[in-house]
Amino acid sequence: MIYFDNSATTVVNQQVLATHIKVTEDIWGNPSSLHNLGNKAASLLNQARKQIAEVMQVQPSEIYFTSGGTEGDNWAIKGTAIEKREFGRHIILSAIEHPAVKESAKQLELLGFDITYLPVGKDGRVTVEALAQAIRPDTILVSIMAINNEVGTIQPIAEIGHLLENYPRIHFHVDAVQAVGKMDLALGANSRIDIATFSGHKFHALRGTGFLYLKKGRRIAPLLSGGGQESNGRSGTENVAGIAAMAKALRLIRTDETEKIAKQREIHDFLHQQLEQLPNVVLFSGCNQAQQAPHILCFALKGIRGEVMVHALEKEAIYLSTTSACSSKSKATSSTLGEMNVPTSLAECAVRLSLSDESTMTEAKQFIQVFQQLCQTFSGIHS
């Protein structure tokens, strides 16, 4: 089996799973309980938070545990809107944000907020100039993803941060779900990023885990009210086993990160170069290091619908997806490709290949062989 759908989800690491099982069996107390069982769970939770903060080079008090990317995005967007509604009701997003961001904003639109969608160029990136023009006195939030989940473009986060230095009151949220282990996202006191969303299952932790980075001094209203867990930011009994497992997964993924990124980049470049040579194949992802994530490759074989290609590859035990996993079951074509002005007929043919740190060059070579054969098989069909 060749699993090239790591942007949808990753396989859980064995050591991470071992932690999850052990904590579930042994440290199952509620961290809020006063007794020993509770204390032990609280102590582990605390230590997991410290470790994550250390790995991300931020303060432990800046880490809030969530159920994953969707919750993090919802919280960042709606939490900012509620918290800062007295100061303004204008929000700026890129047009290629994940649905968790876009749909959150749409809900706010119904409540009277004003949303500006920044267009992207053919290269799939927003520009700082466009953002500068979109900012208004009543802008309260700018939300731009670090790495696009469909095409893998790296957005100009540092440059945007630089621009936003001039607008200290605007919250800057970065959906970093695809970024862990793929790029160096600078957080902390010297970064302009105020909020960043992370999801555990994209880096070999379990589904239902994630964390939000919220810079010290910034405030967002809670979405989940209740017992006051997570410093009153996110109520609900903590998923201690999931959190401990995620802390371990994060440490593991970030160990030797530079080497892991380089390896994925090498495979990515190889695939890019091979696919480029094939007739009727169109690549939507580039291979410029600064602008393209090392793990996502979006392309199409003209005339063959993405869905057909996914199933054809599946027969050969190769797994990838039609653009994002979220939109692949509904018939919708990729919104990112649409924003990049790719014609619908071509966008319908797009597939997304996504690597992890465990992907190998051998797998990539096998994939190319199989794909070449498929191209030949299909060559009678498209004209």
Partner: protein, 406 residues
Amino acid sequence: MIHYDRVMIRYGELSLKGKNKKSFINRLVQNVRKTLHDFPEIKIYGERDRMFLDLHGANSAVVIERLKDVFGIQSYSPVIQVAQDIEQVEEKVVALVQSQFEEGMTFKINTKRSDHSFYMDTTEINHYLGGAVLRNVEGIKVQVKKPDLTIRVEVRKEGIFISSETILGAGGLPVGSGGRSVLMLSGGIDSPVAGYLAMKRGVEIIAVHFYSPPYTSEQSLQKAKDLTAKIAAYSGSIQFITVPFTEIQEEIKKSVPEGYLMTVTRRMMMRITDIIREQQRGLAIVNGESLGQVASQTLPSMVAINDVTNTPIIRPVVSMDKNEIIEVAKKIDTFDLSIQPFEDCCTIFAPPAPKTKPKLENARKFEARLEVDALIERSIAGLEVEEIKVGQDSSAAAKADFMDLL
């Protein structure tokens, strides 16, 4: 990063202390050795006027950082040692200036020569090295009076010694040079500060904590230990003694009127502390009492409590404002720990309205209802003693506990 070969330490008030000087220096040597316990390669020479550390390759940055907390050090200078070779001196001096240079800085070279057989004299050396710095460090100027940077060069038989920085030490007296005392450590803001200040004056501390489970939690005990680990930075390690106090508190609660609960409780604590002091051959008791903050801290209250012993009671924070105490607590990094909300021995049975002016006779009278000696004997029989070293706090323990999980 410049690597240094030696550190020269200047003694603080030590220089004044005539006859005792030798024992003071020995104590400081011991304390420095304890602080640098994980660098066995370092040789320490406690000479009459100065102390020298020969680092023998030990990480000088770590050593320099650790020495900041050692009481009895007025100031210290990291030193580079080279052979009697002016070119080697030149190379090191230039590197040293480059590492510290900031826009617009001035400097001078200050050479001393105890080995007069060296072929250059001090003026020649000053000129030679000054010229080298001017050539290699762009924008720097020479200034003889009050330069920003003074490079000291000392030519001796065994080599040439170069230093530039003088780092301010913690001052005070070497911990232990002033004898041993017992600190009553609650877990609040004041008592760790009191302990720190006593240590600064050369007093070795043994920490005593009163523990009343289930009225006080294990976390409150852990908090007291974590505070001890913090102030252990100033002496290397501290003995921590846990006193079982539940029975005594329950008995007091049963027999003593509310207004005198606190006074009698404190009298019992003082008695027990005094017995521990005697066992440990301490000379005094240190506590965190200050005047007038809470009902227990009025002068009449002090009289009623102090009544149980003739042992000197040192109250280092007695005349400080709360804000002044907090400032010190923040400096020694105990404040954030101290304000964690756990019940401790001082708050748990706190009556709604303690007497601000308890009468000594009343305190004695009410206390007579207790079997004082028997209660104390049982408590003393249950003492637990452990040694807490710097860095040995609960977060380090948690880190170790969960290492395999995380």
